[in-house]
Subunit: 321 residues, 2 copies
């Protein structure tokens, strides 16, 4: 059997036909026609799904349904996109109903971060685990939680906003309106902000050689220069890892998951990132006797996590593993 | 049908025969003979359970089993008390096996905070909800989580250490070894510590009239004097509520539960506590459109939460609601 996964983004919609082993057997990518309105976008998505099935020569009765990962606040029980910053003008869009009407297939929708967590746990870095937390370190900090083998979404699917946990009360201002959220310290955006600050303060830093144009600083600047021995860069990285580790330790204590999966751009630092975090965290795990260590791993599905995760919504019954 | 609930404490073991509606139909209380060792204590508990059944005139075949709430780190899958500070010398005690051998009844063990959360969600303040977080504000800060209708315990039942979430990185030292945990700010212990500090700094404070002996300061001192208009007391309460609200908001964002149930001594402040917290939190809920508000309530089962919660472990299959 096969499942369609659709990864709805503000610019493109990526689609895939996924087999029951989580392998993508066919792929496509279409532009997101935001200007045309939600119903037109839904019609495009339905057509994209049907084309994937037809082009792969698969019978429709061999397709379990369509799973969708969408940005924003989703009512996954009813397949409704309540609100999405990246999809201008989308308010309470009954996406599942629109696409079901055009395809006759069952449709489920969940938040894209939740979907990625589910995909990574079913078929990626968290395979085989029942309790997993995924944290994505990108423009913001997002996440998803698998509890007792099931995707946890909370009331009206509005839970697992893992980036908006305050780790420093009264600290750096966050986009959400509070101060000191993990996102305000551990996102790539925060890393770049602190890198630029350090560069302005340290004209002698090797970071100026790595990124002569300060507007081109990215998440690699501080990490690469720190590894090469630059003191100012090392301080940026140390501070970044300190707050990130505080957040991850919190999630160890709250969930004691078997595994924490890290995703997003900052994870390009791979083994170096994991090694540094393991070192900091092993000194600070909540220390009663016998508390099991939490394995830290880097996500492995990359850009396909959205597709595969979306399909996973359908493959497990009711979004379960 | 009936279930036995046993609430194992460092000083007493409270036992109850609980009906399927969560009502305690018979109760007993025996001392915990710590000095006699784990096997003797387990034998006492088995005898207590059998006596409850006999005294109530209930047939053994009408008893579903025995649920136990224990302090410490519990391997609930295997019914083993791995380690408990309050039960000196208990290391990897197979409590369920001991009691099953003496009674012939099925036995489940879970952490006392988890058990209280389950009891409050099944039969108390959280009745009717599928996603609930309980936070107990006592000597420490503990908690329990009900996810998708099931008690969430994490790997080896070591999750839901909700007091050990750092809300102020680098802040007040916590007993767990980290700095800035919610427990270090929102426990009754922390409240008393800050009350005493404020009294020493403010000899004019009305708190000295309320508690002339500074060693008798308790969780009520600052709250009662703040309500009566004392400025120093008001500052203590404001700071306490600030950190508590930060922690609760974090749990709103992480779990977006339908309800947060507050338990423990500080909850004697009842409606005043809820009113103040609702006021602070309503201004700071993670603010995207349509995020459902989280209901804040005070636990209602009081000292019986342990008993009823322990019985709930057996009533729901596999600890589920």
């Amino acid at each position: 059997m096969y499942t369609i996964g659709l990864d709805l983004g503000g610019t493109f919609i990526k689609g895939g036909l996924v087999d029951d082993g989580g392998k993508i057997v066919a792929k496509s990518k279409i532009p997101t026609r935001i200007q045309a309105g939600p119903e037109a976008v839904a019609a495009d998505m339905a057509a994209q799904a049907l084309a994937l099935i037809a082009d792969a020569g698969v019978k429709k009765e061999d397709v379990r349904g369509i799973g969708i990962g969408s940005p924003g606040a989703i009512d996954s029980e009813n397949g409704i996109v309540n609100y999405a910053n990246n999809l201008t003008g989308w308010i309470d869009v009954p996406l599942a109903a629109y696409i079901n009407a055009k395809t006759g297939l069952g449709v489920k929708v969940s938040n894209d971060a939740n979907v990625a967590a589910l995909g990574e746990t079913m078929f990626g870095a968290g395979k085989g685990y029942e309790n997993a937390v995924m944290i994505t370190l990108g423009t913001g900090v997002g996440g998803g939680v698998i509890c007792n083998g099931r995707l946890y979404e909370g009331n009206e699917s509005k839970g697992a906003e893992l980036g908006h946990m305050v780790v420093k009360a009264g600290g750096a201002r966050c986009n959400c309106g509070r101060r000191g959220c993990l996102e305000a310290y551990a996102s790539a955006t925060a890393l770049i902000r602190e890198t630029k600050k350090a560069m302005k303060k340290h004209p002698e830093s090797a970071m100026w050689k790595f990124s002569p144009d300060i507007d081109e600083v990215d998440g690699r600047t501080s990490f690469e220069c720190a590894k090469a021995g630059d003191a100012a860069a090392a301080k940026v990285v140390d501070d970044y890892l300190y707050y990130l580790a505080e957040g991850l330790l919190n999630y160890c204590n709250i969930f004691r998951p078997q595994v924490i999966i890290l995703g997003g751009g900052v994870c390009a630092q791979g083994d170096y990132l994991i090694g540094r975090l393991d070192d900091i965290m092993s000194r600070a795990h909540y220390g009663y006797r016998g508390a099991p260590a939490v394995k830290l791993v880097i996500a492995t599905l990359g850009n396909d996590a959205g597709l595969i995760g979306a399909a996973s919504l359908i493959m497990g019954s009711a979004g379960a593993l």
